[in-house]
Symmetry: C2
Amino acid sequence: MSNETIKLLLVDDHHMFMDGIYAILKDISHIDIVGTANNGNQALKIAKSSALDLLITDIEMPEMDGIQLSKSIKKTLPNIKVIVVSSHSNVQTIDKLRKLQIDGYLLKNTGKIELLNAINKVYKGEKYFSEEILRVYNQSLFGTNKAEKEKVKLSPRELEVLKCIVQEQNTQEIAESLNISVNTVDTHRKNLMRKIGAKNVVGLTKYAIQQGIIA
Amino acid sequence: MSNETIKLLLVDDHHMFMDGIYAILKDISHIDIVGTANNGNQALKIAKSSALDLLITDIEMPEMDGIQLSKSIKKTLPNIKVIVVSSHSNVQTIDKLRKLQIDGYLLKNTGKIELLNAINKVYKGEKYFSEEILRVYNQSLFGTNKAEKEKVKLSPRELEVLKCIVQEQNTQEIAESLNISVNTVDTHRKNLMRKIGAKNVVGLTKYAIQQGIIA
DNA sequence: TCATACATCACCCAAAAGGGTGATATTGGC
DNA sequence: GCCAATATCACCCTTTTGGGTGATGTATGA
């Protein structure tokens, strides 16, 4: 088992970062980097046409991000292991990836040794998560604000309204944007505040930015 | 000149990333990585005790960030060239660094070749900025919102009020927090909106978060 | 000294936000 | 079929925001 070569695909739009991982791994005899991709779409194509064992992907990427990519991979090519690497750790992201049965989650501040360790473990079928990730996730179970404790589920329409709010539109303008009544927008805004636990639109704005809803 | 060795210090709290740059540069004969640091304070100590030519630093770091580090370096050790590397590019950051007479600014999605190119140019005394950085900066000169065009100067009191607003306090609460009249808080809020070019408190919130005023 | 920015406050007024309740129609899951 | 969530709208009411104007004292710098 450990004599086999691990066929690996790197996915990250940060060339410098990818060059870095590449440089770290290229001298490891049992690891074979079969390709690199700058975004999820590209990665999917390569994954479908190659005999991959493992995929290492960033989360923040243009076109198709790491979460969507992971979802696609796990659905269509469940034999490929997936390790996610990101600069930041927030509870919602960790939770999403956990549900997708991701195999590993590393922060970009983890070192060479931990990276190799993670790759080997995941290849053998184990899971690997950075300590920081586990800490953040466990802490979240005792989180202070509503948005952290109970994962907030916003409906598609609520998300649309939220996006408009963050664009500094007032209720009247949002109603026109979405072709609905002012009263309806009012209702959505109030429901958003209740769900998110915000006191006013400022709270909604902060939530949206933290969740990357506006990006 | 080009036969000399470039003595270089890497500063980044992302170990994996640093390992990456390290791996890229370690085989380059005329580059000597004299050390690595995880934060600005550590970097300053090393810089003071070594004969450095060039420092490559991330912006986002704990304790002392890349901007503070650059400021200290340029003040106390002006002979050391500084290249900043970051994942993101926003106008305010670019502008701050420009004023600090930084020598280079790269995004993390720049490749190996560009990195080497930048190091060589900067070592020779030239400046090097990623295309993306130049694009963002030039665009900002014709930016849409006031906050980008003219750098906004907020008075200390206005900053206090802004912080309270971002904490989801309403005018009444802010007045109590700062022991002033509700009318005065109103005035400050209105002046903030005028200066920043925001349509409402949502705009103020976004500005505050972008500027890191709440961090 | 004069101008400017700052911090403070007041008043008027319109528009918007927020809090509560209730109603209807549609949908998807169990 | 029933239940829950969603999306839609209406009406009540109070509080808050936002826009405009003007006034006063203080401090600072040209």
